[in-house]
Symmetry: C2
């Protein structure tokens, strides 16, 4: 948790409603931080359907391994998350720590260990002493309450400068359902590398395979379209739980991902995931600018996304944004290096509504002042049209500042 709040932080937080079927508690276990909460327990009193997507790292953390192996069971009763230690690259000790936590959680809740989900975020390579919090899970289970979303988001923060919460409602067959979510992360944020963690819960009654379908599709235009520094955590975890409490209002369970009754829910879920993803990008370490990069006219949507991410991850594009420099030459460079089809002489580039380049050269009506004015804003839209096809994609990132270097040059000490 940083002393300074990002200038890109939301001006206010949404009022997070309680959501039937889930309760939460936090604790201050002193894993790494002083005087703050660092453990979150979510409890589903009735079994919740569950879906998850995880880091693509070949060196995943012990909790990621643990969650992956439980997911086929499809049912969740509790989630335990700690900040301050990622339990990653901790070998046999790491597996022992997940086992101890799962055993303690299953005893506290009275469920199977395969109904427990775990996530850890923080320094890697340090053994996690799970005895610090395993003993308090019983008490946490008893005191957990529904009106606790903002506190839950705070307990999982590392170098985040603000907690990230979002809520939406949708209708399924005439019944109103709610989706609440929390997230932490700022790219490869803190202790050492940090992590993007996000937990989303709905009271809708939706089967686990359908949830997984919704989540796997929803992650692409949201969390997978957001980058701070191109580095991929060992611990990235996004989970979606459905308590099914809306069944009491007559909502018929959804068991087919193609069910047209899902339309409103899918839209609401995607909007919520995008909301959380953008909140994470806006809290990028050292960020002072938010870049929304849209690529149109690519051969395919996938090619558009590759090019958009090449722009978003370019240190030279990101430092130019930090310097409020309308340096469109670096956009050309990043398009050129992406490896996807591009025809230099068909390229057009806009900063905001200002077209700065067209047909492979600087726009005849180019105004440095107009382009610079766009760069002075806090939110900078950048658009590239390739003129080749109808593929398009939008991604989000932040600028690269001296503060990023300062934060990451001396984190562990």
């Amino acid at each position: 948790m940083s002393a300074t709040i990002s200038p890109l932080a939301p001006k206010s937080y949404p009022d997070m409603p309680s959501l039937r079927g889930v309760r939460m508690a936090t604790a201050a276990a002193g894993i790494k931080y002083k005087s703050r909460t660092d453990v979150l327990m979510m409890v589903f009193d009735e079994p919740a359907a569950v879906a998850g997507v995880f880091t693509k790292s070949k060196c995943p953390s012990a909790p990621v391994d643990f969650c992956r192996s439980n997911l086929s069971h499809g049912v969740a009763r509790t989630v335990v998350v700690n900040s301050g230690n990622a339990n990653a690259f901790t070998g046999v000790k790491g597996r022992a720590a997940t086992e101890l936590t799962a055993k303690s959680a299953s005893e506290a809740v009275g469920c199977g260990e395969n109904e427990v989900y775990l996530a850890s975020t923080g320094v890697i390579g340090e053994p996690l002493d799970a005895t610090k919090f395993a003993g308090v899970l019983g008490d946490m289970h008893k005191t957990a309450t529904g009106d606790f979303w903002l506190e839950a988001a705070k307990a999982i923060m590392t170098t985040d400068t603000y907690p990230k919460v979002a809520t939406r409602t949708a209708e399924i067959g005439g019944v109103t359902v709610t989706i609440n979510g929390i997230a932490k992360g700022a790219g490869m944020i803190a202790p050492d590398m940090a992590t993007m963690l996000s937990f989303v819960v709905t009271d809708a009654d939706i089967s686990a395979p359908v949830l997984q379908n919704l989540l796997s599709a929803g992650v692409e235009p949201s969390f997978n379209s957001m980058t701070v520094d191109s580095d991929t955590s060992t611990s990235d975890t996004l989970m979606l739980f459905a308590t099914g409490a809306a069944a009491k209002d007559g909502q018929a369970q959804i068991v087919d991902a193609k069910d047209p009754a899902l339309a409103s829910f899918r839209d609401a879920l995607n909007a919520l995931l995008k909301d959380l993803a953008i909140q994470v990008a806006r809290d990028g370490e050292g960020a002072t600018k938010m870049l929304e990069i849209t690529v149109t006219g690519a051969e395919t949507d996938a090619a558009a996304k590759t090019i958009a991410l090449s722009i978003a991850n370019s240190p030279l594009v990101k430092t130019a944004a930090a310097g409020e420099d309308a340096n469109w030459g670096r956009i050309v460079m990043a398009v050129g290096k992406a490896g996807e089809a591009a025809d230099r002489d068909k390229l057009a580039i806009w900063f905001g509504d200002v077209r700065v380049a067209v047909n492979g050269e600087r726009d005849a009506g180019y105004s440095e002042e107009a382009a610079s004015n766009v760069m002075k804003g806090q939110d900078i839209p950048i658009r590239v049209d390739l003129g080749l096809g109808s593929g398009k994609a939008t991604v989000w990132t932040c600028d690269l500042t001296k503060e990023y270097v300062a934060i990451n040059g001396d984190y562990r000490s």
Copy 2:
């Protein structure tokens, strides 16, 4: 050219011998910089064999297009290089500028336009006014001299803090030959994105196809194993010329890349290319540390190189180096995100001779002090063993500092 010289600069320059068959001149044309040279002309009085490798960017500069189309001719009589403007993304005007320069150069030298080679480095998107220097090429051709390598290297600098030169000798069939090279660049250095340019000349008598074979192989473990910020210029150019003057000493022309008489020359050329590449990495913008990253035990050499570059390009690894933080967790992260086969529990990591991790967890004998001492050095060797096969690779990079952000956040203005 920066006011401050990189702390990683060489302590002294080698004495660059004249090389039979090539003469050079420089001029101050005021393309962008004041009070310094910004045009280099190299002249081969007899036709030289030529080979080149160029940027893989899909949006290459006009001079790169020009050189590529001339290369099949296989003969060079002159090279004209300017700094201060990259003539990239300049559309029709860019092609007109290369045509004017080539015409002026061919008239000055008395050769075909297809025997002219061009390179430009500097700001992109600005039309290059080639009339500023095209008129002086006749004079430059007359005054060009052989003892001018260091001045030649200075004329092509942009944000480089020192000129880069290297020389080697080799034997071909008992005859001593010389190889001289110059380079500029510091990754995607300055004006906007900058460029890696390098020109290497030998007096050996070697046919153009053999030169191309040597250069294409030699670029992989040298310039293609070096990264400053992962950004790829529109203008990267590496050319190798053979004047053939050694034929007068009885050196029989080499026309077969498999000729065993090439062994000494190949070794010398590869050593020179590596020397120049490391000089470029050591002049990375804002650099204070040089990282040599070696990956062993990968499935293949190519996989080892992908992983080594993933480490070298990670902003989190590079900021940790700037902060002298022995943050090996970020090495694990970068291995994990590279996409190549890796087994967390077989991974071992060294900083210098200090093994910090083994078998997927922190080394039992880990000493923070010993690891930190390695990080305090100016040159930091990092080794990762994957324990999977015999693939290996070494790459070079520099750290990521606040100075990099400062340099690149406000270059154009």
